[in-house]
């Protein structure tokens, strides 16, 4: 039986150096613990080209901890291209990690696994002309970085820079039984063209919206077949936590509400304050208190006050008071996240309307 770990989008960066290396170390530890033969890094190992150049020596040191028997192959992703200019990619030395830069792909045979490592390119459209050697006995893995055309994942990638499409036909053409993919930061697995195409998701929380636990994919091959693949959580990566905090007549209540949650020190927490508050100063004060209270407990804290609007006399407004009483009753009974979302939206809308009426009246 042969084992491989497939990780992607670690985004090792100088700005979050400690955090990203902690995750990398855990990845190495996972390889050791699972006695893995092959580590696949499917692009965006670094956050940018300058990050790659600056952090490659440290990465080499960390990678030296890879178990003897474990080979590692990384392909450049679109982030290694960022700020690269005309600088060469090939010269980056990752030590134990083989840096696949051959075009259109570089082939490795590791422990009877036939690996096609396809470095990131601005287009894979010419894949029909690639000379694919006839398949042998070994299971084939193709490693690529880009977005699968035909399986769009809504939400997360909305703000991502322009992406490169991968046509799943390429998997069938190569005859791969597993496609180790990178670029999409949320996890997705799909059977395409007789191939298990998998995005393990980014190995660490890179930006807001990356809700799930960060993980890598553990693969097991028996003979020529992929017999098992499962997710292994990277605990050091923490989580992205988004908390909706509806501010009521007593703004101080949100502080106790926050206290009810347990956070990991690696978590990236975003608080979304919404509702009406007497003054802007009160709002700023609330934010300060939240930062003071929560800031030291988490890796990163962001507080969104976009939907927290000031309205003097708000607390004394009978209509607002009555509305919030009724709303709170519903909020307490809301079960599903969707119900809560709708209630939050209803609250925002209603309070905005009250605010506008009051201001119009004045």
């Amino acid at each position: 039986m042969r084992k491989a770990i497939h990780a992607a989008d670690l985004h090792v960066s100088r700005s979050e150096q400690q955090y990203s290396f902690a995750v990398f170390d855990e990845l190495i530890e996972l390889c050791r613990r699972n006695e893995v033969d092959l580590l696949l890094l499917a692009g965006d190992l670094f956050d940018s080209y300058p990050d790659a150049v600056a952090l490659a020596p440290e990465l080499r040191e960390h990678a030296a901890a890879l178990p003897e028997a474990c080979r590692a192959v990384a392909i450049p992703g679109n982030h290694e291209e960022l700020l690269r200019g005309e600088e060469p990619l090939e010269t980056i030395d990752l030590g134990r990690i083989a840096w696949a830069t051959g075009s259109p792909f570089q082939r490795y045979t590791v422990c009877g696994i036939d690996l096609f490592a396809v470095p990131f390119r601005s287009s894979y459209a010419d894949y029909l002309t690639w000379e694919i050697p006839a398949a042998g006995e070994d299971p084939r893995i193709v490693m690529m970085h880009g977005t699968l055309a035909g399986m769009w994942f809504s939400g997360l990638e909305e703000t991502e820079e322009s992406t490169v499409a991968i046509d799943p036909d390429v998997f069938g053409r190569i005859g791969a039984s597993y496609a180790a993919l990178g670029h999409i930061h949320s996890a997705h697995t799909e059977e395409l063209e007789g191939c298990t195409a998998c995005y393990p998701g980014s190995a660490r929380v890179w930006r807001r919206g990356e809700n799930d636990l960060r993980a890598v994919q553990l693969l097991e091959f028996q003979g020529t077949a992929l017999t098992r693949h499962e997710r292994l959580t990277l605990t050091s990566a923490g989580r992205y936590r988004h908390l909706e905090l509806p501010v009521g007549i007593d703004p101080g209540k949100v502080l106790t509400h926050v206290d009810e949650h347990v956070f990991d020190s690696a978590d990236f927490v975003e608080l979304a304050l919404s509702g009406l508050i007497e003054t802007q100063a009160q709002s700023a004060q609330l934010v300060r208190k939240l930062q003071h209270r929560l800031g030291p407990r988490v890796r990163r804290l962001e507080i969104d006050t976009e939907h927290l609007e000031p309205l003097s006399g708000f607390a004394a407004l009978p209509l607002a008071r009555h509305f919030l009483e009724h709303w709170n009753r519903r909020w307490q009974h809301a079960a599903s996240p969707r119900e809560k979302d709708l209630l939050l939206e209803a609250r925002r809308n209603a309070l905005t309307k009250i605010k506008h009426r009051v201001e119009g009246r004045r």
């Binding site: 894979y124 459209a125 055309a149 009555h322 709708l342 609250r347 009250i354």
Partner: protein
Amino acid sequence: MITKLHLESFGLYREVSFDLGPVTAFVGPNESGKTTLFHALLDCLCRPRGASTHARALQSRYGKLRSCTVEPPDWDGAIPVEEFTELLAIDSGAITLNVSENSDWMQAVKANLFSGGIDPSAITRDLRREASENKTYAHMKRLKELQSRLESLEQERDRLSARRAEILGGERRLQQQTREHEELENTLRKLQQDHTRLEKHLAAQSAAMERRRARALLAKIETVEELERELELRAAFSEDAEPQLAALETGMENTRSHREHAVVAHEHRRAERETALRAHRSAEHAAAAQQQLAEAAKSLRRNLEHSRAAPITRTKRRPRPLVLAAAGVLLATAAVPFLVLTAPESLVVGAALAAGALILGGFAGFEQTVEHDNTPVENALRRARDEWQRETGEQLSAESYEGLISALTGVESKAAAARDELQRRGDELQDQEHKLTEARAAEQTARRTAEAAQQELNDWLARYGLAGTREYHNARAEYRSRRQRRDELTRELHQAADQYGCTGRSALRGELARLLERTTEAEVEPKDNEALRRTESRRAQLAQEIEQLRARRDAAAAEIAELRGTVKGSLGEIPEQLLDLETRIARLDREIGELNDAREAAAIAAEIFEELGADFDHVLEDLARDIQARFGAITGNERRLSLPKLAVDAAEVIDAGGTARPPAQLSKGTLDAFLLAARIALALQARDGEGILVLDEPFQSLDTERTLGALKLLEHVHRENNVQLLFFTKDERLLDACTAVFAELRIHRLQLVGRA
């Protein structure tokens, strides 16, 4: 604030103006025009219209042509009549409170109390609009637009997907066709090799066959020549003499048959003559016997006739039965040949036997006895009879003489008849003899003719050197069969010569000889025609298969060429475009989802607002508290009050004695204080913005203390809520109190009517 009331023509007022301050008091005795001014204010502020009670009342009292205005003019008609009369104005001290759920001012009161001046129903309306699925609303139009965009994007995506599938299909097809083409080429090569091998084999077989055929043809030439030689030798048989021979044979047959007929006729005649001869002889015998009997009878008759004259002694003959029987047997035996056999020898034997019998019967059959007749006749008769019996062996039946004579005469006649018969038979025999002679002559003629015919046939056959006709037939048949065989072979050779392109037998022979010289014996296992046919059919099948494969290969090649023209070896921008479309679709999906969520959220918010609208309890509690506070301000002490659902009739007021009483049981002063407090509270809640209170003798039932309390309450309301106050009174004390309470009081003293 209303600054001026101008009466152009109203009741008795003509072109009169009153400046109004924040607090203004109109003071005057009865009929000084206070009520007219009150009505003018009502007319100006409310402008009652149409058939309403107030409009009719004003019209009937002040006429159609009444005219009054206020300044600033935006107060003109600014207050609903109902609100004015029931809430803002107290007319002639009559303080009433008619709380109707439906009145606009009551709604306004509630809204104000409830929402701090914001109308929740307006927000509910807004939210309902946002939640509505009515197509005319902007968000629904937007939704529709988004959906149509989504649809077109999805169509575009589907189109692109189809294009992608088409390209990949073409690509796959190209690969497949290329593979298939290769396979076809290989198969073709293999089949062609097989075909060539078979062809070679067949060619060898064919050469061998050709040689065999040549040899066979040469042999046939030999045979033909041999046949021709034989035919030459048998040239005599070349012409068909069969009819001639047949005629001869027929002639011979005819004479032979004629002769046979003559022999039969001759034989027949001979037999007939024999019969006639036998009949003649028999007649001769019968005639001889009858003659003898007749002789005896004649003698007897003569004896009788003689004896008639003398008795006679007579020797009698007695028959010996045994001898006679033996003679009878003999005679019978003698008769057999005559009856059965025809051979003359047997007739002779029969005759001899008969003669023996007669001799035996005649001589030894009888023993002679001499009898003596007593009477000559009788004796004669008896002798005659005996003698007859003796002579003939027969008994004469006649007893009498005459009878006997007649019998004897009969015997004599019979003898004569027998002689006649003999005569006739003799004639007949002679005739037969004659005929026999003729038949013999005819038979001899026929024999000669037959012999001549035979001789002629024999002579004909001798000409061919043959012994019999059969030999001729055989020889002729043989000749014909040889000739036929020769002709067949000649025809075959002729055809062969044609095939070999030469004329004549010798040319053919030369050609065949050259062919045999030219070719060598092939080293193939000679096969029978069936095997060759099978091989050939296999070869033909192969050829056909090759043709089909060629067609398929060519088709594959053509398709490959065509595909090469269209397949670019790349999906081009399609995956990117697909991804872009999918992104846009996802974005639109999200936007549509957000729109729908917003609608749903608006519906939830509207629902909450509707719940709030229905939830009046706390509103009314607020109002009751307000009224209670103002009531207390008037009465000078804290008065508890319950006012469920704002229904005045159901209200309970704690009176001075601490008893809860319904309004009807309250003293007039307390009731007025309560209603005044309620009115002020309600008026403040009902009016959004600047307020006004018009008070015509409002404190009639109140004592001085409560009047002062009420005035202080009004002063507070005036100050805090910016409410303009207009007092109408005839009471100077009230004017004094007002002067004391209000810092700034404008007073208009009214004279008698029409004298401002």
